[in-house]
């Protein structure tokens, strides 16, 4: 993962991306016990949003450095990495308000726990609900933190359904 962090920071310095933050299971593991995951998911902010192939500069940058595409991911060491352009105000703010963590001495932008939970709520698959529960269990985030974000991004009804189903409130 150190190589992934280094690659992303280089990409940022070179102006290939305007910003990034890791999210999904890899970010979750900052707070919770280990979970199995197939890849590392990176939210990216691109400068040239209106081109047809928005990820092309990323793929070119990676290929130039010897990292090869593998289906929808780029293989970086042991990690298939998936680049996902921000796609709504929630993900835009998740990157803007990300924290700077550290992997073996390398700085690494990471989505905050409350945004991880809100994105999971918005996505709404069973494993996303498991993520929210794991974040709550680890006390990385509180119900109040999540409720605050659900008001900001109009996810109140999803949050109410989640609470009714899983938190018995």
């Amino acid at each position: 993962m150190k190589d992934v962090a280094r690659l992303l920071n280089d990409m940022l310095s070179a102006g290939v991306i305007a910003d990034y933050a890791i999210f999904g299971a890899v970010a979750q593991m900052r707070y919770t016990p280990t979970v199995a995951t197939m890849d590392a998911d990176i939210l990216v902010v691109m400068e040239g949003k209106d081109t047809l192939d928005v990820l092309k500069p990323i793929y070119e940058f990676c290929t130039d450095r010897g990292y090869t595409p593998d289906r929808e991911t780029i293989r970086v060491g042991e990690w298939p990495v998936q680049f996902i352009p921000v796609f709504n105000p929630l993900t835009e703010d998740a990157v803007r308000e990300a924290e700077t963590g550290e992997i073996e001495g390398i700085a690494f932008r990471v989505v905050r726990a409350d945004f991880l939970a809100a994105i999971a709520l918005n996505t709404g698959r069973p494993k996303d609900f498991t993520r929210i529960l794991a974040l709550l269990e680890s006390r990385a985030v509180s119900s109040e933190d999540i409720a605050e974000l659900t008001r900001r991004y109009r996810l109140q009804s999803e949050w109410e359904r989640f609470k009714e189903r899983f938190l018995d409130e």
């Binding site: 280990t34 990690w79 996303d128």
Partner: protein
């Protein structure tokens, strides 16, 4: 404390220790888990070639 309660208490303690591992260590463990999972899927696939891969990415649907 009866034996069942002790078992739960030990399990909870183990989980707390797991959560407190350094992030980099958890990521290393995650790679090991992924490889084990993929090996299991390959083995299942060899026994039943008609089964579809259920490999999933983590990314949310857009």
């Amino acid at each position: 404390m009866n034996s069942l309660e002790e078992l739960f208490e030990r399990q909870a303690e183990w989980q707390r220790e797991q959560a407190n591992l350094p992030w980099a260590e958890k990521l290393r463990l995650s790679v090991v888990m992924r490889e084990a999972l993929l090996a299991l899927r390959r083995s299942r696939h060899n026994h039943d070639p008609s089964c579809d891969s259920d490999e999933q990415s983590e990314h949310p649907s857009r």
